[in-house]
């Protein structure tokens, strides 16, 4: 099977994720969209690993997973804290750095 | 004995002592600063005495590896040109400290910070003239901006913050261009016998004329801003107006000399061919500076701005002398750097005392001071005469040497520049008439004349101006070999008498 089909799916997933990050307000949804983008990237890595016939891509994918896991830990903690203090999970409400 | 390092360390030691004093001991801080600067002056004189005046190489050389991986050294050494400028700096600092005894009050920070800044600046002034490693020079050249920035922005008057920022940005732009040239030199030196920043080795670099021109411009614009040469001058009047008189003296008297010093040390030495290529343009800029600065001084309403504009005119003379490539003009330019330091110092210090008494720096707020405060008025007058280069005062010797030296090679430039001496009479005598002559302006009747401290501060400056006017030989004997060395290195010889073509 043509490997490029995997890349198309990866691009599609990435686009969905990106659009989700930009469009949605709910922090949890934004978060999930980011995960989607990360996984889209993972898919590309694995695909390229397959195309090139070595393991570099797969190694990178593991790295990404680790990073994603860390991000989830920290990110969720932040979101929960924000929700606690503001009673809202909307990212637009958290613009304290500007004002 | 490591004279130069010693000279640089002494002020730092003084600064360290002052920093340990409690804030309330303001008088002690002043005394410590004065004492330190006097010691530095004495040490400099001790060094000057040991200088071999017929030796054109760097003397009192010191060299320590600083960042070996980049070939950067802490390398110091002075020739006659650097020597007289260091002497100028170290004489002016105690004068400034004594003259501006009270000018640190009312600043944004404490009195002791002011003196720490002054002393740190003194270290850098010595270092910038003594550095023989281009990188070290560059670092000090830029680092000098820091104390000056705080001195103007923290202790000045009026729109001091704006003036300080303007000064800083102007200088940084120039410094950036110079940095690019410095890096280019470094890179090229790598291809020709190993990376180095040593000025002697860099001067032997082979490079194409385009490269040389570009690198020359990088250095020259930095120095032209520093000097300042028209049209890079507009920071100076603002900075001089806002700074305290003492800071202005150091700014105009010493820091600006870094520009003209750099032209000789770096532009001429490193890029002789490019210097020759650009000489016509630079001479025109210099002549414009002379005339333009004089006209602006005539039109100035504020006494500090006026002095700043006269300096632009004088720096035009210095630049012209440097690039005229005759031994008279070169010696004259170097002597001019020294003399201008004192004549401007005298003008600025007395103007500062006038301003602090009257509470205004507008010339027309004064009037009839000669009858109210005779000593102050006559000192100002004498300083003014020195600025208009009256024969018998030191500036005349240097100005005339520059003119006569330029005339032998570039008569037209010299002729136009000579018109500056008529304008000089106007820009000095107009403020003299407004401020010192005529009936006493209401509100000035009670002004106090100079006190003993002020007299003590100005007396040596006036003495130097008068003595060097009649007997410049001691200084000229030191300067001449260095000046003719520069000319010879550039491949020039003085034009022979033409006999008018007969």
């Amino acid at each position: 099977m043509d490997a490029s089909n995997y890349l198309y799916i990866s691009a599609l997933l990435f686009t969905i994720g990106a659009v989700g990050v930009v469009v949605r307000r709910n922090a949890i949804v934004v978060f999930m969209c980011i995960e989607l983008m990360l996984n889209a990237a993972n898919l590309s890595f694995v695909t390229f690993s397959r195309i090139n016939g070595d393991l570099n891509g797969q190694v990178m994918a593991f790295f990404t997973m680790v990073v994603a896991a860390c991000e989830v830990v920290v990110g969720l903690a932040i979101i929960v804290t924000i929700y606690r203090s503001r009673r809202s999970a909307s990212v637009d409400d958290a613009s304290l750095l500007k004002r | 004995m490591k004279w130069l390092t010693l000279l640089m360390l002494l002020p730092l030691a003084g600064a360290a002592i002052i920093s340990m004093l409690p804030k309330s001991m303001e008088k002690a801080a002043k005394q410590a600063a004065l004492g330190t600067s006097l010691v530095v002056m004495a040490a400099t004189i001790a060094m000057v005495v040991r200088f071999q005046r017929d030796n054109v190489d760097f003397q009192f050389v010191e060299k320590y590896s600083w960042i070996p991986s980049f070939g950067i050294n802490y390398a110091l050494g002075v020739d006659a040109i650097a020597l007289v400028l260091i002497l100028l700096s170290t004489i002016l600092v105690p004068v400034v400290v004594l003259a501006g005894w009270n000018e640190a009050h009312g600043g944004r920070w404490s009195v002791k910070t002011f003196y720490i800044l002054i002393l740190v600046l003194e270290t850098m002034m010595i270092g910038v003239f003594a550095a023989t490693d281009v990188f070290l020079f560059y670092v000090i050249f830029e680092a000098m901006l820091i104390p000056v920035y705080f001195l103007i922005g923290g202790y000045g008057t009026g729109e001091r913050a704006a003036a300080a920022v303007k000064f800083l940005i102007y200088s940084l732009v120039g410094g950036l261009l110079m940095l690019a040239s410095v890096i280019a030199l470094y890179v090229m030196s790598g291809a020709q016998g190993g990376h180095t920043f040593d000025i002697n080795k860099l001067s032997e670099l082979q490079m194409s004329s385009t490269t040389q021109n570009l690198l020359f411009l990088g250095f020259f614009i930095a120095f032209a801003i520093k000097a300042p040469v028209w049209p890079f001058h507009t920071w100076l009047p603002d900075a001089a107006k806002s700074a305290t008189p003492g800071t202005s003296v150091l700014l105009l008297g010493v820091l600006d000399k870094v520009g003209t010093y750099g032209m000789i040390r770096f532009c001429l030495t490193l890029f002789p061919e490019a210097s020759e290529t650009f000489t016509p343009i630079i001479l025109v800029l210099a002549v414009i500076s002379i005339i333009y600065g004089a006209f602006l001084a005539i039109g100035a309403k504020d006494i500090k701005r006026l002095i700043a504009y006269t300096s632009i005119s004088h720096f035009g003379f210095i630049t012209m002398g440097i690039f005229a490539m005759t031994s008279q003009a070169q010696s004259g330019a170097i002597l001019y750097m020294f003399n201008h330091g004192f004549s401007t110092a005298a003008l600025f210090l007395v103007a500062g005392w006038m301003i602090s008494r009257r509470g205004s720096s507008t010339i027309s707020d004064f009037g009839g001071l000669q009858r109210v405060t005779p000593i102050m008025a006559w000192t100002f007058f004498l300083a003014g005469l020195s600025s208009l280069a009256l024969p018998g005062l030191s500036s005349f010797v240097s100005e005339f040497l520059v003119l006569v030296g330029t005339f032998t090679r570039y008569p037209v430039h010299a002729i136009i520049a000579t018109f500056g001496i008529v304008l000089a009479a106007l820009y000095i005598l107009i403020p003299v008439q407004i401020a010192l002559h005529g009936p006493t302006t209401p509100g000035n009747e009670e002004l106090k004349d100079l006190n003993l401290r002020e007299k003590l501060a100005i007396a040596p400056v006036i003495a130097i101006i008068v003595v060097l006017g009649f007997y410049p030989a001691p200084l000229l004997k030191v300067i001449n070999p260095a000046a003719s060395h520069v000319i010879t290195q550039m491949g020039f010889t003085d034009p022979a008498p033409t006999n008018g073509g007969k």
């Binding site: 990106a18 990050v21 930009v22 307000r25 934004v30 990212v91 637009d92 613009s95 304290l96 500007k98 004002r99 | 303007k166 102007y170 049209p231 507009t234 333009y292 006209f295 602006l296 005539i298 039109g299 100035a300 005759t326 031994s327 008279q328 010696s331 004259g332 009839g368 006559w378 005469l385 009256l390 024969p391 018998g392 005349f396 005339f400 040497l401 006569v404 030296g405 005339f407 032998t408 002729i415 000579t418 001496i421 008529v422 009479a425 106007l426 008439q433 002559h437 005529g438 009936p439 009649f470 007997y471 410049p472 030989a473 003719s484 034009p495 008498p497 033409t498 006999n499 008018g500 007969k502």
Partner: protein
């Protein structure tokens, strides 16, 4: 050449006096004037000593030199601080110190009520020192130091009462116009160095014959400009009238007897330049002729006694410059007229000061009249000076002025006739305006105010006047007896003993001159003695009188041509600097700040817009790479 170690005392004594009195301050108030006078007198003593020494030596060995120290030595530019006393400079030394000392004595009394008398004497001493340096310097550059030194002293003394704004302006005007002349001297020195490689008198004299005429002409013209500035010659004459703002002794010393004659000194000293540059020499004559008429015409219309005398000075120096421009035959006569003029004009100025002293500082001659009875000594001394300036035999002016007129006629051709006529006409006008001064001041009816109490001046004042009057009577006779001065100066000037064809016999010239003088006197008598003089200057006068009263429009000319355009240029440049140059700088700053605040709008604090921007940036980057790779 003979060397001497005592020349320096000529300068050092008065210079020490100036320094002591200026630095000593109020402590020296009590005896400062005495010290200054004594030092000036001792300088005169040194001068006399030098003269006796000089007389004892053979002609070739008369010049004396003294090297003081290395002054400026750079490359080929070598100037020593050296002094040179020769036959020419000794004349000046004696005139400066002699007349100077008399005027010191006079000033003791004249300035006795001025609280700043000490400062006045310090400046007088400074002037004497600078003037001596001017005539003793052995190079153009040392002359330059004295040249500007006397300019400074003149500035200080004109503006001695500078609390009056007009006086302060007058002093500034004098200094600035002098600086224009000084610029000429700078150029001359530069030309000398560039073409001959030396700036000493001896060096230039030696090199002059190897140098092209063009270069020498250039140098000569520049020297002429310098002389015009210092000697108030056309076109730099406008400052002299205003310079009368200074105390009258100053006018007598600086603006009549000594400093203003420095131009004549410069031209005679540079005879080797002018003799080799006929064009420059011709210009000297022209300038002299113009000024001689210019000053004389102004003199006819002035009511201010000092300004009338100043105009006369200008005119008489015109005579000297003219004579100096006639070349070797004229130099000695220029110097002779300079010396006799020093006596009679200084005497008359002191007389004017004495009149002012008795008339509460009134200077308007229309407010004088019939002062002869009240001030007999002043009248007598002034009258002797008057006869001298007219050139009535056997008074001093007769010898010196007639020689100039005669030499002018003998210049040959049309030039000789024109110059001769101008000098003759000048003599007639001189007679007219000087007679006018005499009549208005000393004869006729009294026109002064009720509260004026004219009285004779104290002996300290009339004694110097009397001595100068003796000089006015005898100096001409003494100097020309057996051609004493001509022979004395002879070795300095390349005087070819060519017995050229005299256009007019000397006796004819004298006859003509005396006739012209008589005509001038007669007109003045008819105009001012036969009818009453209005105590206020009449307004219904001819347009010529009006122009002459305004100094022949010299100030208006300078204002229109130089001052106003200069002011416009200054304001334009100030505006240019503010708007164009600093404006450019500030615009660059504004652009940086403006783009900063524009971009700041992007930092809106919304996470999603940041994310969108990151996305856009990434897409743009990928697109850019894609385009490049394609």
């Amino acid at each position: 050449m003979t060397t001497s170690t005592s020349l320096v005392y000529l300068i050092a004594l008065p210079l020490a006096g100036a320094a002591l009195l200026l630095l000593g301050g109020r402590r020296t108030d009590k005896w400062g004037h005495l010290l200054a006078t004594a030092l000036s007198a001792s300088s005169f003593g040194v001068g006399v000593y030098q003269l006796t020494q000089m007389l004892g030596r053979s002609t070739e060995e008369r010049p004396v030199s003294q090297k003081l120290f290395d002054w400026i030595n750079v490359g080929a530019f070598n100037v020593d601080a050296g002094l040179l006393l020769d036959q020419l400079s000794i004349c000046f030394v004696l005139l400066i110190t002699g007349v100077g000392t008399l005027i010191h004595i006079y000033s003791i009394s004249y300035m006795s009520h001025d609280q700043d008398r000490r400062r006045f004497f310090a400046f007088l001493n400074l002037f004497i020192a600078a003037m001596l340096l001017l005539v003793l310097g052995d190079s153009y550059l040392s002359l330059y130091v004295g040249w500007e030194g006397v300019g400074l002293a003149s500035y200080l003394l004109i503006g001695f009462w500078n609390q009056k704004p007009a006086y302060a302006t007058a002093s500034k005007k004098a200094f600035v116009m002098n600086r224009v002349g000084d610029m000429g001297l700078s150029f001359a020195i530069m030309i000398a160095f560039a073409t001959m490689g030396t700036v000493s008198f001896a060096g230039v004299a030696e090199q002059a014959e190897n140098t092209s005429e063009a270069a020498l002409t250039g140098m000569g013209i520049m020297l002429l400009i310098a002389a015009a500035g210092k000697s108030a010659q056309f076109p730099l004459q406008a400052w002299l009238g205003d310079a009368m703002a200074g105390p009258t002794p100053v006018s007598a010393l600086i603006h009549a007897a000594t400093m203003v004659t420095a131009g004549v000194y410069l031209i005679t000293r540079s005879n080797f330049v002018f003799d080799a540059a006929p064009t420059a020499q011709l210009l000297v004559v022209i300038v002299g002729a113009i000024t001689l008429m210019f000053g004389a015409l102004i003199g006819t219309a002035k009511d201010d006694i000092k300004k009338a005398l100043a105009a006369s000075t200008m005119s008489q120096i015109g005579y000297m410059i003219l004579a100096a421009g006639l070349g070797p035959v004229g130099y000695a006569f220029a110097i002779m007229h300079l010396l006799t003029h020093g006596f009679f004009k200084a005497g008359m100025f002191l007389g004017a000061g004495s009149v002012m002293h008795g008339m509460d500082d009134e200077v308007n001659m229309r407010k004088y009249g019939a002062l002869r009875k009240f001030m007999p000594i002043t009248f007598a001394t002034f009258g002797l000076g008057y006869l001298a300036i007219l050139g009535v035999p056997p008074f001093a002016g007769f010898y010196s002025k007639d020689m100039i007129i005669e030499t002018a006629f003998n210049a040959g051709g049309v030039k000789g006739i024109i110059l001769g006529s101008v000098t003759l006409l000048g003599a007639a006008i001189t007679a007219f305006y000087m007679t006018r001064v005499m009549i208005l001041t000393f004869t006729g009816t009294k026109r002064w105010d009720e509260n004026a109490h004219p009285h004779e001046s104290p002996w300290l004042m009339w004694l110097p006047m009397a001595i100068l009057a003796i000089g006015s009577v005898s100096s001409g006779f003494l100097l020309s007896r057996g051609d004493a001065l001509v022979n004395w100066l002879h070795p300095l000037f390349d005087h070819h003993e060519e017995h050229e064809q005299h256009l007019l016999e000397p006796i004819v010239v004298s006859g003509l001159a005396l006739t012209m003088v008589a005509i001038g006197i007669a007109i003045a008598f008819v105009k001012y003695s036969r009818q009453d003089v209005a105590s206020v200057a009449p307004e219904d006068v001819s347009v010529f009188t009006k122009i002459a009263r305004q100094d022949l429009m010299q100030d208006r000319f300078n204002e229109t041509v130089f001052m106003r355009p200069g002011q416009v240029l200054t304001t334009t440049l100030v505006a240019t600097d503010e708007v164009v140059i600093d404006g450019t700088v500030r615009t660059v700053g504004k652009i940086a700040m403006g783009s900063g605040s524009a971009l700041r709008g992007l930092q809106n604090g919304f996470v999603r817009s940041y994310a969108a921007l990151i996305l856009l940036g990434a897409v743009a980057l990928v697109a850019a790479i894609w385009v490049v790779v394609q």
